[in-house]
Symmetry: C2
Subunit: 463 residues, 2 copies
């Protein structure tokens, strides 16, 4: 019997797609690089037992499998390689339980981030992870990539928000670790193996998520400051004045801010002038009257370092500020060709890093533009390099310049997007040979036939 027939027996014929039945969504990241796969076989299991049966079969046959969530990744991790069976979790999109007493939600991996956020909000709770493609991104994908986003500063990355996981191993073994406990030192915390390993060690099928009390009010402000030191000083002074309340601290450097000027009719431009750095601060509180006063006072106390500021006091105004912030990557993505990066550094080194990189890039392309924005509170910025023409040679030069400087300053070549295929050649810039050898050992141990997302993170040849 052919593989597709056997897979169809597991999931039902209508959920085993071949040939022209396979839609474009299975071939490529929604907003990632232009790497495109040519999937020949897509299976859409309806539950964990079906995922296990699929993997058992593919393991026996030595057939490679790539799990897919919402395809909102940015490193082509979900883009199918040749001969890979696409394992789409899209049908496993149910919330199984919201437990108010433990403030947990147990969901299937294909559940979208927005669905989880919305259901939590209906119960006056909050699931704090937030990324722009929230309506498409899935919980399974967020776990596989240890997603970060806009509120890591106060609530942590996805790793901190998962209490329990159910995972199917490469050979089809189901490991049910759907615990609801905040503290559990009964042996290894096995979920840590699967969070952030991009589907290369197992397929996440269900998760128990940790919810937080919903803030009763949210305010925001945008401030223009003169340089990085002022921005970091502002962060630390606001965190000291408003402890536990600064839920986002996003920075936009001038060149990136300027992409908003041509669309000023469509958005509300927050500041009158273009400052060296514009900072978006979000504050989450419990007392709408008092907390707004506290934010105003805290900003007044920072008048010596803030050039211009605007405070968003209503939900609508807060929404407009976020709309402006989220418009930036959208505008930048239209400036193709560009080379995009997601790096982290000790935050205090960012200005030095950027000036070194800018100078080196200008040596190659005098008119090069560096558009920089991101999660300054976490030392994580996104950089778009616009050199004009986009060639393979040029890509290699830009990547070397960006990543060599990251290595020099002890940073990470991937703060939150992961490695996938795209950053694999540079993994050793942020990890030692011994660390990479240990990753390889784990991969060989958990997936001895190399069927799970082969070639992501680590190259296949030496797996």
């Amino acid at each position: 019997m052919t593989l597709s027939k056997e897979l169809a027996e597991i999931v039902g014929a209508e959920h085993c797609l071949t040939g022209t039945d396979i839609g474009a969504r299975y071939a490529q990241d929604l907003w990632g690089s232009d790497r495109k796969g040519d999937p020949q076989l897509v299976v859409r299991p309806g539950g964990t037992a079906e995922v296990a049966a699929i993997l058992r079969l593919c393991h026996e046959r030595g057939v490679p499998v790539v799990p897919q969530g919402g395809m909102t990744g940015l490193v082509s991790g979900g883009v199918p390689g040749a001969d890979e069976v696409v394992l789409s979790l899209e049908r496993m999109n149910q919330v199984e339980e919201l437990d108010r007493s433990t403030r947990t939600m147990t969901v299937q991996a294909g559940c979208t981030l927005a669905a989880v956020q919305d259901l939590a909000a209906e119960h006056d709770l909050m699931f704090p992870l937030d990324v722009a493609p929230r309506t498409a991104a899935t919980i399974g994908g967020a776990i596989a990539t240890n997603a970060g986003g806009l509120r890591v500063l106060l609530y942590g990355m996805m790793r901190e928000l998962v209490l329990g996981l159910e995972v199917v191993l490469a050979d089809g073994t189901i490991v049910n670790g759907l615990h609801k406990l905040v503290k559990n030192n009964a042996g290894h915390d096995l979920k840590q193996l699967f969070i952030g390993t991009e589907g290369t060690l197992g397929v996440v099928t269900r998760a128990t998520l940790r919810l937080r009390p919903a803030p009763q009010c949210r305010f925001a402000a945008m401030c223009g400051v003169a340089d990085l030191d002022a921005a970091l000083d502002l962060l630390h002074r606001l965190q000291a004045a408003l402890p536990g309340m600064v839920s986002a601290f996003e920075a936009v450097w001038d060149d990136a801010y300027e992409v908003l000027l041509p669309v000023r009719d469509e958005i509300t431009l927050p500041l009158q002038k273009v400052h060296p750095i514009a900072v978006l601060i979000e504050v989450s509180g419990v007392d709408a009257g008092k907390d707004l006063d506290r934010l105003h006072r805290a900003l007044d106390d920072c008048a010596d370092i803030v050039g211009e500021s605007t405070v968003a006091a209503t939900a609508e105004q807060v929404g407009l500020l976020w709309q402006a912030r989220e418009r930036i990557p959208k505008q930048i993505l239209q400036m193709q060709p560009l080379f995009g990066f997601d790096i982290s550094l000790p935050a205090g080194l960012l200005d030095q890093y950027l000036s070194e990189v800018r100078e080196e890039l200008r040596g190659h392309w005098p008119a090069v533009k560096l558009l920089v924005f991101g999660h300054l509170g976490d030392g994580n910025v996104h950089i778009a390099v616009v050199t004009g023409e986009q060639t393979r040679d040029r890509k290699a030069v830009v990547e070397h310049i960006i990543y060599r400087a990251v290595r020099r300053h002890g940073g990470s070549i991937s703060a939150e997007h992961g490695i996938g295929f795209e950053k694999r050649p540079y993994l050793h810039y942020s990890r030692t040979a011994e660390e990479i050898a240990l990753m390889r050992l784990l991969k060989q141990t958990l997936d001895p036939r190399g069927i799970l997302s082969p070639g992501r993170i680590l190259d296949e040849a030496s797996q």
Copy 2:
């Protein structure tokens, strides 16, 4: 050449102890069970390279090794088994760097928790992990056991406070992952393998710790409440009123509170009456005047569920409350013989759990006492069962009753103390067969000769 001579060549003769030169500190946990080892060989390396050389040698020879920190564990993990070489990290007790700009501290594994806390405080920063034996407990031990303690509620367990690790593997390979980054998705987050695995997968030699801004003021309160529901309601109302400020929420059930009565001359008894549950709340803030008012107002708003309360407004008063709280386990430990437990449950189930367990124990020993206290905010309590006589048979009966009920309610047999030797027979009460098989696979992969802390967490026979 004998093993001891070769080890002496690595660390120097004065740091390789044999026979009667071996002090009592290497044989037994300071406050744990009465399991006692009979160490024949103790090595005290002065740095990572020496640790690597020791492990390389022991790996070649197939000699088992047990790393030791401050011996403040409670599950006999550091107690040497027969023929085990004791690898004491006591000489590796230096702080290597405090980096104010990244708010990190890089320390050797043998550095004490108190030393780290004190140095952070000198720089107006805080290392938030706190456990009673802070002057003896080491950072390496806290990492190996994923320590919890008094402030997990606001700051997380040790896992959340470690940014980078240097580890020596069983074969002597040094894996340097001393990163300072909050966000780093460049491949596997390997430190997770070693945090909480009790020295069975590698020896932690150095760590980069995450520091927090020091709170500018701390207040506390003790409240008597009528039952568990009231205690949890109080917690949630205080967290809502004082977001990001409730840094501890400790509960003491009546029988445990009563152990303070005989020593009321030595401590300040916080409450006039013995309530079903006494709760100690700690609040960390930034504005001494306003935050104390906020605490008073928040407590006033909870008058309907608080029977009696006292607020500690000065550092001295706060200290007295903590002194009373920390006196409880000390008094209980004097009530030998007793059987001690460290469990976690979904917090809302604790009362039902305790009444089921109490009833079952009374069936065996009508006069049994259950002394219960702990970190209610995390669903984690410590239970001391006093049955009178302490025999092996009786121990087995008590453990079965305590742990069967934990299993029934989906709890953990070890919230923060780990498994070690002591809880190994019950690991499967909190973990599935597939989870345990995966732990075994990791152990076999990282320590194929089984030389690192053999028999802890998993039994040796099947390793």
